[in-house]
């Protein structure tokens, strides 16, 4: 009993103390939900930010455990950068509620949702769970189109400048440099990807709508019968039958997804199974945002041969 009182007394001292002691003006702490936003924050923030990326390319951003380590990281974050549109709805609300961090709550400048700044596709008029794990705000996998990265970069640079006013000119300079480089890169990728126009593909999860939209590719089937529902043998057989009438060039999946269904289809339909990084770090070459699309297009071109 006495011990407990001592602990309680200690807390009474420690808690107010922690309120007083705050690091002077350290780098802005960024908590990025997905690797693409972590990479973008590093591009735009440079030395003015320290970036923690909550997930890696081998994890499914829909299904992340609200782990104690993530709550502890969000506790000290100045800026939260997530995809939004309910992609993180299975875990982010818990982190936000348990973090005790008022700066990153929805509605605060420290809360940034990338999907607020792009045009959403597959925005459902009527949404029902019988359609699988669908998102009423539209398909959230916006990072498969580099033009979306460009739009998010514009908004994010402004947000960084707003949060870290003393370094606003730094963010502006880095943004201008990135923007110029990015536009050139997009031109390059589009030229490189010209042969992909009209190419028919099968996707594992409906996560590539922005990519197919950008490059003019055509998605003819998905291995998941409904978004988020694992591919079944019956559905795979159906996809195979469908491919006899309407052949596709390849079947694509993200690095984090199960290989087996894709390999089965690849073997039976005699089309290559292509792994795309999906986000930064997904494959060897995809070390940063530029590498992400370099690898994506190279792999797609290989698959389309």
């Amino acid at each position: 009993m006495k011990k407990l009182k001592n602990i309680f007394n200690l807390l009474c001292i420690l808690i107010p103390l922690s309120l007083v002691i705050q690091p002077a003006s350290a780098a802005i702490r960024v908590f990025a939900c997905e690797p693409e936003w972590g990479a973008l924050a590093k591009q735009l923030g440079g030395n003015d930010v320290s970036v923690y990326t909550a997930t890696n390319a081998f994890q499914d951003p829909h299904h992340i455990q609200a782990r104690p380590s993530l709550i502890a990281k969000l506790r000290r974050a100045d800026l939260l950068i997530c995809t939004g549109s309910q992609l993180e709805i299975g875990w982010l609300p818990v982190l936000l509620r348990q973090s005790g961090n008022d700066h990153v709550q929805p509605g605060q400048p420290g809360n940034f949702a990338a999907t607020d700044y792009v045009t959403m596709l597959e925005k459902g008029a009527s949404i029902d769970r019988s359609q699988g794990d669908v998102h009423p705000g539209g398909n959230p996998h916006i990072q498969t189109d580099p033009r979306n990265i460009g739009k998010v970069a514009t908004a994010l640079a402004k947000r960084l400048a707003q949060i870290d006013l003393p370094n606003a000119t730094d963010y502006a300079k880095r943004y201008q440099a990135f923007h110029a480089k990015w536009q050139t890169a997009i031109q390059h990728w589009q030229k490189q990807a010209a042969p992909l126009r009209g190419v028919k593909i099968v996707v594992h999860h409906k996560a590539w709508i922005y990519l197919t939209h950008w490059l003019g590719m055509q998605e003819v089937a998905a291995l998941e019968p409904k978004p988020g529902v694992p591919p079944s043998a019956g559905h795979l057989a159906e996809v195979l039958r469908q491919l006899r009438n309407q052949p596709a060039k390849m079947v694509i999946r993200a690095a984090y997804q199960e290989a087996r269904p894709d390999e089965w289809l690849s073997e039976h339909a005699h089309i290559p199974a292509v792994v795309l990084p999906f986000t930064v770090g997904g494959t060897d070459g995809a070390k940063d945002l530029f590498g992400l699309y370099d690898v994506t297009i190279t792999n797609l071109l290989k698959g389309a041969k």
């Binding site: 807390l11 455990q65 380590s69 709550i71 950068i81 609300p93 509620r97 348990q98 707003q162």
Partner: protein, 391 residues
């Protein structure tokens, strides 16, 4: 010239952001319905088969709170749970959960508001909620890995400690997760009772620590204390207790998923130890009040393994130590007859999606000296808003 361009750009940036903060009020993790509260409904049902009559259920040496039984035979719906959640304003978040039991009785399971804007790692919760003590205590029944809760929770906490009051949590500003919490509660629920001390009969304190070992392994450990005062607390048919019943809990959880991706395989281990320190007067039904001082305890350990997408198996062992209440209580509910209550459970479940689960479970229940073979088939379905689960 360059400076002017930059300055204009920044001013523009600030203006637009200033304007757009309102537009983007929803931000990351926006609610599914713009202004209406998120609504979720949990439907669950069981088919149960017991070799011994559950109406005579008891745990040798433990006075049980009402509702601390394995349920009834045959078909029944479990607790159907209707939940409403919403941000109230920029500072407050509110939760209401209404629970309907199969016998038609309904109860307010959760009704609390939580401040999200204190900052500095502080959260304040007011209302009715599951206490933050232990690990299992805060988990809603639809997230349990077995049909029933641990025996130690059933015997020492009346299944789950839920009460009305205030909770404060503080999260340390460290990379290691260190959370400290304290609660001051009414004291109406077992092991408290009768809202002692003018309706302030219970207080708790807890510390949780957790971290990741690497991308695949994470853990959380906790130490909790619940101090409960009871005034004429009623258990069983009509046993009364007045005095203090303080509980110490040590808990540990470890989760594994290759590369942090639980889709194909994952494993979860959890174990807790509970000890109850009782001091007061116990009046067994039909008897007279006698001094009672004993420290019964219990523990459980369980492992859940997902061996392929959608399919999980689990094993659990429960054991209790009733402690000897003394000769004065021989023949009463506090007399364990030298029996050590224990239970072994095995379960298999299948999740069609993250919103629906079907489960088969077997318990070799030795809460009483005679073995009870219990079989359960259960479904748990959640409709509506996508509730995020705690670790």
């Amino acid at each position: 010239m360059k400076h002017i361009v930059l300055a204009t750009w920044i001013t523009g940036a600030l203006l637009t952001t200033g304007l757009s903060t309102n537009v983007n009020a929803a931000g990351a993790g926006q609610p599914s319905n713009a202004f209406n509260p998120e609504i979720s409904l949990i439907l669950n049902g069981t088919y149960a088969q017991f070799s011994r009559d559950p109406a005579n259920y008891s745990i040798a040496g433990f006075p049980l709170a009402s509702g601390s039984d394995p349920g009834s035979r045959g078909f029944s719906i479990g607790e159907s749970e209707l939940g409403l959640r919403a941000n109230i304003d920029p500072d407050w978040y509110g939760v209401f959960t209404f629970s309907m039991a199969n016998d038609g009785t309904s109860s307010v399971e959760n009704a609390f508001v939580q401040n999200t804007n204190l900052g500095h790692g502080l959260t304040l919760r007011l209302g009715r909620f599951f206490s933050g003590i232990g690990y299992l205590n805060e988990q809603h029944s639809h997230t349990w890995d077995f049909v029933d809760t641990a025996l130690a929770y059933r015997a020492l906490l009346g299944t789950q400690y839920r009460d009305d009051g205030v909770q404060v949590r503080w999260l340390a500003p460290t990379d290691l997760f260190v959370e400290v919490g304290a609660e001051w509660l009414r004291g109406d629920a077992f092991p408290a009772g009768g809202a002692a001390d003018k309706g302030r009969g219970t207080w708790t304190g807890f510390v949780h620590v957790g971290d990741d070992l690497d991308d695949s392994n994470s853990w959380r450990a906790g130490l909790s204390y619940l101090s409960a005062d009871a005034v004429k607390r009623k258990t069983g048919t009509n046993d009364l207790f007045s005095g203090s019943s303080d509980i110490v809990i040590a808990d540990f959880v470890w989760k594994w998923a290759p590369n942090g991706n639980p889709y194909k395989h994952n494993f979860k281990f959890q174990a807790e130890y509970l000890q109850s320190n009782n001091d007061g007067l116990f009046t067994p039904v039909g008897g007279s009040a006698t001094a009672y001082s004993a420290t019964p305890s219990g523990w459980y350990a369980q492992g859940i393994y997902q061996f392929m997408p959608r399919w999980r198996v689990g094993l659990r062992h429960d054991q209790l130590n009733p402690d000897n209440a003394g000769a004065a209580y021989s023949g009463t509910v506090l007399d364990s007859l030298g029996h050590t209550p224990k239970r072994d459970s095995a379960m298999l479940d299948y999740s069609n999606s993250e919103f629906s689960r079907v489960r088969l479970q077997y318990n070799r229940d030795q809460s009483r000296p005679q073995t009870d073979n219990q079989w359960f088939v259960q479904y748990i379905m959640s409709l509506g808003a996508h509730g995020a689960h705690i670790f």
